[in-house]
């Protein structure tokens, strides 16, 4: 049942810019560095002995922001696909459980963001090669910097999807999203328990790998909370 619904949801998001955003996000993150290194490559190479690590940390400066912004945009866009003609009343009258409907929406977005993370890895590597940062390529770190923020952002995805799918006025999720983005931007100064800080992977209290587990754990928890709330609501 979930398979059928997923195929249906992937068909619905055609021509709505979902895939475009999935490509633009990681492209933009690496593009920032093409500008950064394009303007002052010599200066940047002098900042560290390990050019690859330094480059990765530069890329990762924008990854959390792009992720959270992407989540805000994609969740709101996902809601607008059904809200535009109130297709909810047709969707929920299908012979599927409301839980499956919610799971399908979440899965589609989680898949898109996973693709974005994969692209981020490829773009990061590609531009890194081009910059000629040395032969000692830290592949493991490239993978970590590409996928850890994604997993750490799952709770953010869960909470923003929840808000977007139950809000009649999409101004609400987008405003909440702006707050989330600013929290991510200021994450350095913020308490570690804030989920918007996690994609930056700089919580002092734990290893990055622990944040990954926390991301999965709280992601599931917030997902369940959102789903249960969605299920008990009437479709008007």
């Amino acid at each position: 049942m979930i398979g059928q619904l997923l195929r249906s949801d992937f068909l619905k998001i055609r021509r709505k810019g979902f895939w475009l955003l999935t490509v633009i996000g990681p492209l933009g993150v690496v593009f920032m560095q093409t500008v950064n290194y394009g303007v002052r490559k010599d200066y940047l190479l002098k900042q560290s002995d390990d050019n690859w690590s330094y480059y990765l940390s530069n890329v990762n400066m924008f990854t959390p922001l792009a992720l959270v912004l992407g989540i805000v945009i994609l969740t709101s866009l996902m809601a607008s696909v059904e809200n535009e003609t109130n297709a909810w009343k047709q969707l929920i009258a299908l012979p599927v459980s409301k839980m499956t409907v919610y799971l399908s929406k979440f899965t589609v977005l989680a898949a898109l963001l996973l693709v974005a993370s994969l692209l981020l890895m490829l773009f990061t590597l590609g531009y890194g090669y081009y910059l000629d940062l040395g032969t000692d390529i830290p592949y493991i770190d490239v993978v970590k910097f590409s996928f850890y923020p994604y997993i750490a952002a799952l709770p953010v995805l869960a909470i923003h999807l929840w808000i977007a799918l139950v809000s009649k006025n999409q101004g609400v999720p987008v405003t909440t999203g702006v707050i989330g983005v600013i929290l991510t931007y200021m994450s350095y100064n913020l308490p570690d328990w804030l989920i918007w800080k996690w994609p930056a992977l700089m919580n002092g209290w734990v290893e990055p790998l622990t944040i990954v587990w926390l991301g999965i754990g709280f992601g599931v928890l917030l997902y369940l909370a959102g789903m249960l709330d969605f299920v008990r609501r009437d479709v008007t």
Partner: protein
């Protein structure tokens, strides 16, 4: 719409309260220090992004259930509808700026800043940030009229706003980047002998120029929009 006004000032207040200005050894008036802390997330991200959210909200009723049709069948010209919506938006942003000023004062009072409150210069910053947002509001109003949903105009907004994090650090590129202007015009470290914190010709060309382009484009689009 009202609670939305308080979001930014609240974020700024939070930033201000979290800052540790007492620990800074400096000759500078402590208010400036505080202001610079508070401006960073507020002017760099919040104001430009919020310009988009507000534009979306102001077009929301018209997008629902064919409201444009009803609205435009009233004896009003399309040009005046666009202009009134635009004026409402910048008035709203002005209110947010005043609340921000209040947040600065509140944060400073809580932090027990002893230095005199530099009224003149904070006004400069508040007014400057307000003016710098004019073109961005025009662009976002256009985008919000074009798209029914909130997400697409927001995506456009994000794509242009995010690079200003880098742009404002660049002396060559920054002054020409419209989305970086709210920060540059609010940032008290700028050229203080001018009317604003950025040179007068930068205000005229970059802010004024982009305002003319975005407003004209949005206005023209709305004239031709089929409802």
């Amino acid at each position: 719409m009202l609670p939305v006004l308080f979001v930014g000032p609240a974020i700024a207040l939070m930033t201000g309260l979290m800052s540790n200005i007492a620990a800074m050894e400096t000759e500078m008036n402590a208010w400036y220090l505080l202001l610079q802390y508070m401006i960073l997330p507020y002017a760099l991200l919040f104001l430009p992004l919020m310009a988009g959210v507000l534009s979306g909200l102001i077009c929301r009723y018209e997008h629902q259930a064919g409201g444009w049709k009803q609205f435009l069948s009233l004896p009003v010209t399309r040009g005046s509808v666009f202009t009134v919506k635009y004026l409402l938006l910048i008035a709203t942003v002005f209110a947010i700026q005043l609340l921000f000023l209040g947040a600065v004062y509140l944060a400073g009072t809580v932090k027990e800043i002893a230095d005199p409150f530099p009224m003149m210069i904070i006004w400069k910053s508040v007014l400057g940030g307000w003016i710098a947002i004019f073109p961005l509001v025009a662009l976002q109003l256009w985008m919000s009229m074009f798209w029914k949903n909130f997400a697409a105009p927001f995506a456009v907004n994000v794509i242009f706003t995010l690079p200003s994090i880098l742009a404002v650090n660049s002396e060559t590129f920054g002054p020409y980047y419209p989305w970086g202007q709210p920060f540059l015009m609010m940032y008290t470290g700028g050229a203080s002998e001018s009317v604003f914190y950025v040179p007068w010709d930068q205000v005229l060309t970059v802010v004024g120029g982009s305002l003319v382009v975005f407003f004209a484009a949005g206005w023209t689009y709305f004239q031709r929009k089929s409802v």
